[in-house]
Symmetry: C2
Amino acid sequence: MPETAHPTADGPQITASHRELLDQVLDKWSLQVLDALCERPSRFNELRRAIPAVTQKSLTATLRRLERNGMVERVIVSSRPLAVEYRITPLGTTLQDLIDALLRWTTVTMPDVERARARFDDQEA
Amino acid sequence: MPETAHPTADGPQITASHRELLDQVLDKWSLQVLDALCERPSRFNELRRAIPAVTQKSLTATLRRLERNGMVERVIVSSRPLAVEYRITPLGTTLQDLIDALLRWTTVTMPDVERARARFDDQEA
DNA sequence: CGGTATCCCCTTTGATACTG
DNA sequence: CAGTATCAAAGGGGATACCG
């Protein structure tokens, strides 16, 4: 047993590489990009319009990272004037299922969370 | 229908408040704190020892945030010398189930991810 | 023991300009 | 259209010191 293991762990360990992967695919922009690409394949500027708050730079970085991790595919459709289409991969859809589960969790628990926040903030003041 | 809705959305929407909640409970330290507290209730310095890389400041901030969101409970056990125990709440355990699902996903897909990364990094060079 | 307060750094983020 | 390059701004995180 590795020295970092929990004596009675019943779930998978949190390793650095697992955390890194989650960081790279569950961040603010990745969630929205994956969501948009699950709807339909999209071009770069289509994604910008679908996610108004994202900057070029952040969108590029997000797409490259998702592509590197095998979550999205970059397809050059034509070379004149230059069209690039991004699509979700089968691997990406397995992540989307988890993201949906997370969003359902936030929806379900948000009332409890807001009560907890109100209680916490009250006894602060 | 809100203007930000997906025309054919089949999952929950990503709203700012939902994203904010996920940011506050799925970050690097929160995962490890929740994991540790699922094992057993722990004192502050116990947690520091369980998670060697975390600083006082980050651990305090993480615990306060999780407490505010109703995921952990702060219990003052005695006032001499001063003992504080942190415990996971029922709401926190519902999150732990999802974290376990995420970690299982990373375990299962990591081989595919690593192949994708190798392919991507190769065609870079 | 269980924190808070302060300073500082350093990475991410954003704005802007330019390119194939 | 689909980016890259550069610089400025901001915020999180760490080190250190101090308090109840």
